[in-house]
Structure formats: structure tokens, C-alpha cells
Symmetry: C2
Subunit: 344 residues, 2 copies
């Protein structure tokens, strides 16, 4: 009975209560909690004890209300966490952020520009110290520095037209080119393409790399075998089936992202299950890796990069900006890709 060192009130204790219990002023509590400069060790101990006893937890929101005080929050807006690619990306950001004592506040845009705008506004309203965004394309006036009120922004994976800020992107063009090259090298000449909308940054660039490789080999993309705009696995599977059933079906497919690659493989699995012979199935290039690619029934070339590392890089750039010159020119880092056969 009686208190056992744990206050179980449902209200959070405040500095005042801690101060009272420790027999000091709130200021001394605050100082102690912020490193203990200019507080006698003995007094600090009393404060620590009181904190312990009450289970005091500083109210971070109140702390950051005055301008200039950091909120300890970084806003991260991605298109979709369910995509393992972005899950890994978020994890990379979290790696670095938690190392720097920051917390992640996360939102998903679902590729919707309006939601993105709202999300960013909300993040700003929550006083985030910085923003990391995978832009969804579309208008981007809400990303202009003056709208951001000085909050540093780092774009990841894609850039946004007319927005001059730090960015980490991937070597889309080179990766797509070398991936396509790998197919050409083993003799394929009819290669289909499954990608996202050509208006998106990565969509455009990957398609460009694909075409460059074909052109270099004296070939051209057959429009009947090009499908753009699939955003999820089932759409991708439909598109792939369609391409594979068409006359002069390609002997290989280039999938411009994870979702399209998995969709293509599902389509292939379906065709195999319906008795189509394995030899008639296409080889595949997948931009973005996926688990167990080495166990697929068809040869898979993976154009790989580390999404977690991309997240780390983005966060690192953000903190560099926070620690350094806010007005230094924007930096764009392009991460390399690795092309490999899934079967060693």
C-alpha cells in the first residue's frame, strides 16, 4: 500500500512536480535534464531520483514549441510502405535518424499528389526538422523552399521538376541499359517492356536506358510489346500476359520495377500452369531485386541497388544539410546499380 515509487496517475507529471519533489526549482530540473551544466552533482542526483520516482517523461511537444527549438522529428513521405522496397528505404532512414536521436514520422502518398501536398503541410505543422520524400510526380509547387518555410527537403529515388533541392537517385538509365544489354548479349532481339508511366521520373529514365541499349544494337522497341502505367502486381500480371499472348511474342521482358517483375513472373507461372512449355517462356530483367529470384523457372537478370542504403543516404544528406549551410547549392547523388544473373 502507499506509493511504491511509481506514480500511477493518468496525468503526465511535469517539471514542476519533479522540482517540488526534488526540492528545487523547475529550472534546475530542466538544466539537469539537458546535460547538467551548472548544477551541483548532488542536486542533479536528487533530480534524477525524483524523475525516476515519478516516472517523469519530458513533454517533447512543449519543448519544441518555441521557434528554433528542434522537434526531434523527421518527416518521411513515401508512396507505399507495403512495397518492400520502400519498407527497406524507410528502415534505412530510421537507421540514421535514430542514431541522431530523431524520430520518424511517416506518411504514405499512394502516388497521389494532393495527399502528398497535405502530408507535407501537416509535417511542417508538426515542426519536423527535415523532410524526406519520394515525390509522386505531378505539380510540385508545394515543394518550393519558400512553401517549406526553410525546412530542408531531400528527394529520394525521383526528382521533381523545377525543384532545386538535395536528392538521392538511382542510376536508372545506366542500370536499364546494362540490364537490357545482358539480354541482348545472350541473343534476345524481341524484348518486351513493362514499366510505370513514362511521365514519372524513374519511368522515363528506365525506359530511356532500355531504348538506348536497343538502339545501340540496331534494334527498336516494338510498341506492341511495351506496356506502361501498371502500378501494382495484378495490373502488371495482366499486362505481361497480354504481351506474352500477342503475335510475335517477345522472348524476353524488361520489368522496370519490382511490382512489374513480380507481376510478369506471376503471369509466367500462370501460363506454365496452363501447360505452356517452359521453353516458350521469356527471360526477364528486373529493375529492383526481389527475394528468391534465384529460384525462378526462367532466367532472371536483376538490376539491383540497396534500398536501405538509399534511405541511409537520404537521411545522411538531410543531416548534413541540418548541420551545415542551409543555403549551399543542392546536391544530387546518383547511386550505382549492380547487374547480375540471379543464377550464379
Amino acid at each position: 500500500m502507499g506509493t511504491q515509487g511509481q506514480n500511477d496517475s493518468s496525468r503526465q507529471p511535469t517539471v514542476k512536480e519533479v522540482a517540488l519533489l526534488a526540492g528545487v526549482s523547475p529550472m534546475t530540473v530542466s538544466r539537469t535534464l539537458n546535460g547538467g551544466k551548472s548544477v551541483r552533482l548532488e542536486v542533479q542526483q536528487r533530480v534524477i531520483d525524483a524523475v525516476q520516482m515519478l516516472g517523469y517523461q519530458r513533454n517533447e511537444n512543449a519543448r519544441s514549441i518555441r521557434p528554433g527549438q528542434p522537434s526531434g522529428l523527421v518527416g518521411v513521405a513515401i508512396t507505399n510502405i507495403a512495397n518492400p522496397y520502400y519498407g527497406n528505404f524507410a528502415l534505412g532512414v530510421e537507421d540514421i535518424a535514430s542514431q541522431r536521436g530523431r524520430r520518424i514520422i511517416l506518411g504514405t502518398t499512394g502516388e497521389d499528389s494532393a495527399r502528398e501536398r497535405q502530408l507535407i503541410a501537416d509535417f511542417i505543422g508538426r515542426q519536423v526538422e527535415g523532410l524526406i520524400l519520394v515525390p509522386s510526380g505531378g505539380r510540385s509547387d508545394h515543394l518550393q523552399p519558400n512553401r517549406l518555410r526553410g525546412t530542408p527537403l531531400v528527394l529520394a529515388s525521383r526528382m521533381a521538376a523545377g525543384v532545386d533541392v538535395d536528392a538521392v537517385i538511382v542510376d536508372d538509365i545506366g542500370g536499364a541499359l546494362r540490364g537490357t544489354q545482358a539480354l541482348l548479349d545472350v541473343g534476345h532481339t524481341r524484348i518486351g517492356y513493362l514499366g510505370n508511366d513514362a511521365s514519372t521520373f524513374t519511368g522515363m529514365r528506365r525506359f530511356q536506358g532500355f531504348r538506348q541499349a536497343l538502339v545501340a544494337a540496331g534494334l527498336a522497341a516494338d510498341p506492341r510489346h511495351v506496356r506502361l502505367g501498371q502500378n501494382d502486381i495484378s495490373e502488371a500480371a495482366l499486362a505481361a500476359t497480354d504481351v506474352l499472348m500477342s503475335p510475335d511474342a517477345p522472348t524476353a521482358l524488361f520489368a522496370a520495377n519490382n511490382r512489374n517483375a513480380v507481376g510478369a513472373l506471376k503471369a509466367i507461372g500462370e501460363l506454365l500452369a496452363h501447360g505452356r512449355p517452359l521453353e516458350t517462356m521469356p527471360a526477364l530483367v528486373s529493375f529492383d531485386s526481389f527475394e528468391l529470384s534465384e529460384l525462378m523457372p526462367v532466367p532472371v537478370v536483376v538490376v539491383d541497388h540497396d534500398a536501405r542504403e538509399l534511405g541511409r543516404q537520404a537521411a545522411t544528406m538531410l543531416f548534413r544539410r541540418l548541420d551545415g549551410d542551409p543555403d549551399a547549392p543542392a546536391v544530387v547523388v546518383e547511386m550505382p546499380t549492380v547487374v547480375r544473373n540471379s543464377r550464379r
Copy 2:
């Protein structure tokens, strides 16, 4: 020249500035922003215009500083976002939370109880309205309601010993039992087991379901073919290889989670690549589904449930608690699993 309707100061505008511009008092601005009760429509419009003009964004942190004011934040602590399972889970939480106008603040525990404790404390300090946690096991005194200061907590996927709060879990026992049954039904009698540590909630339950099925068939688990405690894919692959190379190697494997299933399949792929004949490879039960399971070289039985739905459910329970009686008895929901053959 001059302002063009966009203030580009780097400081955030405040209610005061909006009020000044609109020619009203700060109070009127506040009222307008909170629904406009008791403000003349005409005045409201002036305020809206001023907000627009300045690009004013309410400071949510300042707003929630007074006790009782909601912060609009829900804390989500999971073990690892890179695991697509938890990525989907987080997405489900976000689905519901964003629908209710709340933002997610995310942290990863990495199965570390100390990090979990710190994370929870930090979330509380940020005044989250509620917490959703995949507990990492270990001590759990920091999850006791009195430590949480009345912040509702929902556990997901696992429960924590001695913590009487709302939880959404999965039918681990039944799923494992029925999955194992599926192997027994097709004639397997030597079945290996790859799972997480038996001390974890799901580890224990899934192992229990596995053994129950064996016992019901008059069999018992062979300790030489049981490996517990693998937490990532490479550890799982090692364990699987080990089991498959052992004398009297099992003809089937039960993988108690996604990571162990993928690891087992990697091991199988490796053995195949080294020339082991396909017929000697084990069938597999995977608790948790994974993409492209239908394309695997060995038969895979998937014990499936929807992680995103689990996240939705957890969030729904949290909001129900927020809207309802904080003192109502804790509710535990067990989500069903579906057992299916990956090859239709």
C-alpha cells in the same frame, strides 16, 4: 516584386500574424480554423484569405501542449520495417489512422527490449494518443498501464506476459497445426522445424501447433531436425542446410515464419545448384506467405494471413478504445489463418 501572395519568410507565420492581416483577433482565427462556430461567414472568409496568403499552417505541437488536447499522433513500434510482413502491417495501421486524421510516428525495436522501452517512453513524451506495438518479448513492466500514463496500448501479433491490454494476434496454433496436417496428409512422417526462439509468443504457439499435429498422428518431433532462434534469412538458411544434410534428413520442413521459409528455400536452391536431385528436396510449410511461392521448385504449403488487415484491426481496436471506455476489459482478437497449397 513585392509579395505575390506567398510569404517566403523562413519563420512560420502564427495566428497573430494571420489575425493582423485579417483585421481580427487571434481568437477569431483560432475559432475559424476549428470549424467556424460563432464567427460571421464574412469574417471567416477574411481569415481564410489571410491564411491562404501567408501560407499559414497551424503548429500542431503548440496546439497539443495543453493536457487533454489530442496530438493527432499514434506511436507504432515494430521489430523491423524491412520485413515486408511488418511493412504491410504498418500500412494497415496507416490506412485506418490517416482515415481518422492521425499521423503515424514509427520506430523499430529490432527485437531489443531495451530499445522498445526507450521507444515507448519517447512516444509517450511526444504525447501520442495511442500506441501500437509488436512486443519484442523479455521484460514488460514498461508496458503496464500505470507506466503508460493512460495511453491506450494495443499489442499486435504477439502478447506480452502479464500485460492485460487489447491485442490482435494470429491463430498460430491452429494454423501451424493445419499446415503440418497438410504435410502429414500427403504422407510425410519426418518433418523438420525452423522457428524463432521458443520463448517468444508466436514461436511457442507455432511450435505447439506443430507438435500437436504430430502427436495426433502418433508421431513426435525429432530433436535433431528442430532448429529454433534463427532471426534472419541467412541464419535460417544455415539452419536449413544443416538439417537437410543431417542423417535421416526430413522429407519436409515446417518454417514458422517468413524469414525461415525464405532461408529454407535459399538453402534448397543452393543444394539444387550443387547438383542435389530435385526429388531429394523437402516439401515446405511456410507460416506467413511470401511473393511468388507458387513458382518454387518444391511444393509449398502456405499458412497465410493478411498482415495489412492485422494492422487495420490493431488500429481499429485502438480507436475503439480512444472513443470508448478506457477502463473496459481488454479485448483479444485472434485472426484466422488460411492454409493453401501454393500450386493450385
